[in-house]
Amino acid sequence: MSERNITTIHSTPRSIKSLLIAVLAFVMLSTAFDEIAQAAEHYKTVSVADPYLEMRTGPGRGYPKFYAVDRGESVEIIKRRTDWFLVRADNGKEGWVDRAQMELTLQSDGSETSFANATQEDFTNARWETGLLAGDFGGANIVSLYGGYSLNPNVAIEVWGSQILGNFSNGWMGSVNVVHETWPDWRISPFFTLGGGVIHTSPKSTIVQGQDRTDQVAHVGVGFRVYATRRFIMRAEYKSYVVFTSRDDNEEVEEWKVGFAFFF
């Protein structure tokens, strides 16, 4: 019984740690996106320049149009959700308007209205990127979070944290790598990568033999990033790892992963 307790004392902090990493990544994501929103300049009221501005009951294409604001009247922008804006008319009516219609309005000084909208050009030039990939790591399952910083459109540095979940052992891996994109302006942009890090493996509790190990790893890889929509990227990659074990032979592991990412 006491043996069991010892096992769990060792194992609990590890699970908490992986959870914390996941939560932390999301918190970082949210602050980053918030900063983008804050970066834009302030104004709230626009006037309708088109014959009318249609208000819907919800932020989506299918919601019914229930009110139209006439040309010349102004609306106050309350909030934005994805490509929909909640606006309030002079008479107090509130409804959701899509971005295309909002861009046909005029600002108080008479100039045209334009809203921040990520495009494929931002996909090429954005500095920061973060994402989640999952796949196969030498027969085990792997879940990875990464953050990347682009030095220029072609070269980026990435930091990865992965959890490896296998039949016989579990573990985690941390690595840093350099990514080179040859054609960053393509919608489907191939890249190759080179990096290194550490891998920690521990046998599962049902395995009698074996002990925890921490080894260094190096890897090369190829893959591609696909611009999907807004700030959304799909990403797939193959990496070949060499694990520098303390035994006579080094271990080679192949990894396939697919997932999604955001740039900002």
Binding site: S18, R61, I77, Q163, F260
Partner: protein
């Protein structure tokens, strides 16, 4: 191809200028005084157009694409009975259809039927019965709509489907976990929503002899805040 045309185009005035500058051909072209401008000037015009760039003002608008929430409900852990589950959820709405979310949940496994009937030694220690999971999912708002309460009130609702993967810490090990399910969102105000979620968490487990895929069904109620 385009650059070749440009070279030819630029070469033409040079030739013209050269020829017109030459006294022998001055009258041949009949326009000796109005010689073509040197190519350098043309280049200058093409490269440096003195056009005023209109400043596009970007509005600062409260963007509410994130949704944070808490949930509680019942999780049926295969072979180990059903128990209370609770957790937190963070979602980012990418488009009006797609969103990504991360969920962390906690529960505790009960006794297996064998443990209850035999009255013998427990299979797992108390702390090994702690059930802790995280998952990262992609979701899609498949059926957005409206719900009516009485004649005067209409609320936005949505049926969404989610699928994703993560890890479950249970019985002394981390287990790769796939989860999928569906949920119903009832948007109370523009910022607050109620959720009803059904998920299935699948992982492979071998603590009861043979390895098998366990289905852990979860039903929860939750509340979330857009920010």
């Amino acid at each position: 191809m385009e650059s070749r045309f440009r070279v030819l185009f630029l070469a033409l005035p040079i030739v013209m200028f050269g020829l017109s500058g030459c006294s022998a051909t001055k009258n041949f072209f009949g326009r000796g005084d109005k010689s073509a401008p040197p190519p350098a000037e043309i280049d200058e015009q093409v490269i440096d157009p003195e056009v005023d760039r209109r400043e596009i003002k970007e509005p600062k608008i409260d963007s509410e694409n994130f949704e944070i929430g808490a949930f509680a409900g019942i999780l049926s852990i295969e072979d180990f009975g059903s128990d209370l589950v609770y957790g937190v959820r963070l979602a980012y709405h990418v488009t009006e259809g797609f969103f990504v979310e991360g969920t962390v949940g906690k529960s505790q496994a009960g006794l297996t039927s064998f443990e209850i009937l035999s009255g013998g030694a427990p299979i797992l220690s108390d702390s090994e019965r702690d059930f802790l999971y995280y998952n990262l999912n992609v979701g899609y708002n498949i059926l957005p709509g409206e719900a009516f309460i009485g004649e005067a009130r209409a609320y936005n609702t949505g049926l969404y489907i989610v699928a994703g993967l993560g890890s479950t810490r249970f019985a002394g090990d981390d287990r790769f976990t796939v989860n999928f399910g569906a949920g119903y969102r009832f948007v109370m105000t523009d910022s607050i929503a109620f959720h009803m979620d059904f998920r299935d968490h699948l992982y492979d487990i071998d603590i009861l002899g043979e390895e098998k895929t366990a289905h852990n069904l979860e039903a929860t109620l939750g509340i979330s805040l857009f920010f």
